[in-house]
Amino acid sequence: MDEVDLLILGAGPAGMAAAAEAAGAGLVVALLDEQARPGGQIYRDVTAVPPARAAILGPEYRAGRPLAEGLADPRIRHIPGATAWKIDPDRTIAYSVDGKAALIRGRRLLIASGALERPVPIPGWTLPGVMTAGAAQILLKQSGILPRRAVIAGSGPLLYLIAAQMVRAGTPPLALVETQTRGDLLAALPHLPGAIRGWRSMAKGLGWIAELKRAGVPRHRGARDLAVDGAGRAEALALTAGGRRRTIPCETVLLHEGVVPNIQATRLLGLPHRWDQAQRCFVPRHDRWGETPLPGIHVAGDGAGIGGALVAELSGRLVGLCAAAALGRLDPVERDRRAAPLFRTLARERAVRPFLDAAYPPGPQTLSPADGTIVCRCEEVTAGEIRRHARLGCKGPNQAKAFGRAGMGPCQGRFCGLAVTAILAEANGQSPDETGYFRIRPPIKPVTLAEIAAMAPTGPDKDSA
């Protein structure tokens, strides 16, 4: 089996920064990532993007390029196209590249698996033509394509960014539909003084809004009762705003209600998670060095709690320093000296979050979908069915699997887990912590029996096949 000093899962800003910092201190690093090129979703294909597209994407995107180029360090082995399907507490990862499976172990392990879009269960969200706003960003970054007749709907700064990028690309969205209300903004005001410390991110957001205004993109705020209409594909977005129901014909609907940590890997490891009420999601427990209660296992980046690309990069660097010190390559005093400015910048970059979290909360449909709305996309289980399970005594998501098939499809709950937890918590009058989350079992990504068999005798347990 391969063994390295620091094994990293995920080549986004956190993983890339951790790799660079650790390699700089003399550690041998392996960086596993599903994509062909480094960058994660936020800097997807940043090393390959043509200049015109980079201009559309803006300076925040181009900032990822030096990080990706840092992987050229000979002590860093970047393993692209790698699907990790089993991760063990002894810091071993089973992964496949091009249908060939292999095992690799780290003396330290960093899970930097980033964020997923929060599920946005509204009527019609399973229709072809409905995508996440993040998906549109990926299409632009990697493939240079953008929807021509799209409505963007939901809540959060990413909506402004993708809309502004569409304007720059000459295909502005037909409308921007926002679910946050004036009340949310008022509730966020007490956090404003803190946010001023992170004024750069605020200024960016205001700049995008100004771009949309200049381009004349219609904006509907405080929108309620969103629904995608269409026979077999998205044909319009219906909504209520300003006391009036309206329907906006379109071909594509881009949904976004914020992002949440991708916790498949940390749940698989059995790490403890806590409910973050401000961000309304589960986060793996960790200390300020990203270390979890499992020895030698760290988390960093959005997968450890949503903070954005800069926070991810800084938290990754801290893990690199911590790993180097733990493995005796860096004097603890030197570690602390190098970490001090990182902690300071981290505090400043995080200062804007409480304001953003309060100003752009997930909309009411996201937190409590109507009975008829599909929650589990894979198995087409509705919110009403989950509530019926609760009435029959179902207390948590794992029990829900016994009552119905929610979370049992190929996505393994990635796009229904939070909604199932929220619905059961509400129906049972319990907290999300009490309600819990799906138990995640290997393989977390599909793997063929042939791939597993080829790894014997050091292959995974029989029961995981």
Binding site: T126, R148, P410
Partner: protein
């Protein structure tokens, strides 16, 4: 560029190769993301769900939702995690099999 497609292709140049999707030939950019290339070519439905047979198409583009599943050489694959190569033959994934993947 395909005017029937709901997508605008910002860089339509570059070499194209032939890919068959559900019996129809498409000239797609070599090495491109298969899901993106099919969307740009005007393909709207990638699969039907095993439960109700409802149509689905790429939703997340990052390998998480599995709505882009297609059949390539008899194996279900995520189109958004697959590259375009010459002569690729892609079929719509039959519903029920998805559970065994």
């Amino acid at each position: 560029m395909n005017d029937a497609s709901p997508f605008l292709d910002l860089d339509p140049g570059g070499p194209r190769v032939s890919v068959r999707f559900d019996g129809t030939d498409h000239a797609l950019p070599e090495g491109a993301n298969l899901a993106a290339a099919l969307l740009a070519a005007g393909v709207r439905v990638f699969r039907a769900t095993p439960v109700s047979g409802a149509p689905r198409a790429p939703f997340c583009m990052m390998g998480a939702c599995y709505d882009c599943l297609v059949l390539i050489d008899g194996v279900t694959r995520q189109a958004c995690m697959t590259r375009v190569t010459d002569g690729l033959v892609v079929e719509r994934a039959p519903g029920r099999d998805l559970h065994d993947g």
